[in-house]
Symmetry: C2
């Protein structure tokens, strides 16, 4: 298999962290987003959505979408378990993974994409009012996550899961999006630090 | 268990269609979105995201997020299989479910939320420029899905899965969003009609 990776972009990083947590490596090819290589004919033939990452299997089958790639890897390499070990845990991991995607990662990413000059070509048209509208959405998401973390170490329970990966990548993306994480959100900041100091965070 | 449902809103409909395909019923309570009941203290205590649907188990555990609810139901009632029967099929169903969410459902929903007067209180501030920017995104998504359907009956292969449910709900939501589905997208329109005539579509 081969992984089409995308440097510092947040979605490719989710898959790299996941692979690091599993302790496995996959041959990788970089797609240069700064040069809009994801829109090349060659890459569009691999993923018509023109997004990274994408995993190409040896028979040519393409699995796109970060979490679909992670699920596939999870089935091939079940340990350490990152998607939940029981029916209920799997549901709660999925719930939190999705909540973090939609209520934290999405508003932070939209604030970035609609305000950063570097994104003018990738996000066309940029809508500055939409970028601005996402700042309070992101802060509201941070507040809800902070409250949820009051009584547990990780977002879906007492152990690290794929939902935490989405949380880490989202919070780290707040900096380029120029959204300050409020220091008074003590649980959120404690969690962020816990995740950021895992070896996988360097991936 | 009890399902907090939300009438005509698209996400609750995804779960109702899923339950209909499984042939099961779950006791339901309506959350009146028109009256902003999802923001009441009582409902916020159930789902701090103030979104429907939410499934409450007999011990009080809450599973929110439509697809997390569907996954949980799938494990309790495995037949008919709607999330994939093999490792590869599960990856492809997840890929298409997510592609349809992010590249079809999201832009259609954003076009609706940021242009319809009825959404002024729920989506505050409405950003008309963002609503307008989502129309071409939705049409681009429709074109890619049309192309993908050229050589198969359903979006993830030759049989109906949860990804098709997301597709049906997204396409049906194009009408209130006032986005016309281009008649020349023959594969997309054939698929839409196939899905819309299943008994579950009435859910």
């Amino acid at each position: 298999m081969k992984l089409y990776d995308g440097g510092r972009a947040p979605n490719p990083r989710r898959v790299r962290i996941f692979l690091a947590e599993k302790g496995i490596t996959v041959p990788t090819e970089q797609v240069e987003l700064g040069q809009l290589q994801q829109r090349s004919d060659a890459y569009t033939a691999i993923n018509p959505m023109q997004r990274v990452p994408a995993l190409v299997l040896d028979d040519g089958t393409v699995i796109a979408e970060s979490i679909a790639i992670c699920r596939y890897i999870e089935e091939l390499h079940p340990e350490p378990n990152l998607f939940g070990a029981t029916t209920l845990e799997r549901a709660l991991v999925e719930m939190w993974q999705r909540r973090l995607e939609w209520r934290l990662f999405l508003p932070i990413a939209q604030a970035f994409r609609h305000s950063h000059p570097r994104m003018a070509e990738m996000e066309n048209p940029q809508v500055p009012g939409w970028g601005a509208a996402n700042r309070p959405k992101a802060l509201r998401g941070m507040g809800i996550v902070d409250e949820a973390l009051r009584d547990r170490r990780f977002i879906a329970g007492d152990r690290f899961t794929v939902a935490d990966i989405t949380g880490l990548v989202a919070l780290d993306f707040a900096k380029p999006a120029r959204i300050a994480i409020p220091p008074e959100l003590a649980h959120l900041n404690r969690w962020h630090e816990t995740l950021a100091t895992r070896p996988s965070a360097a991936a």
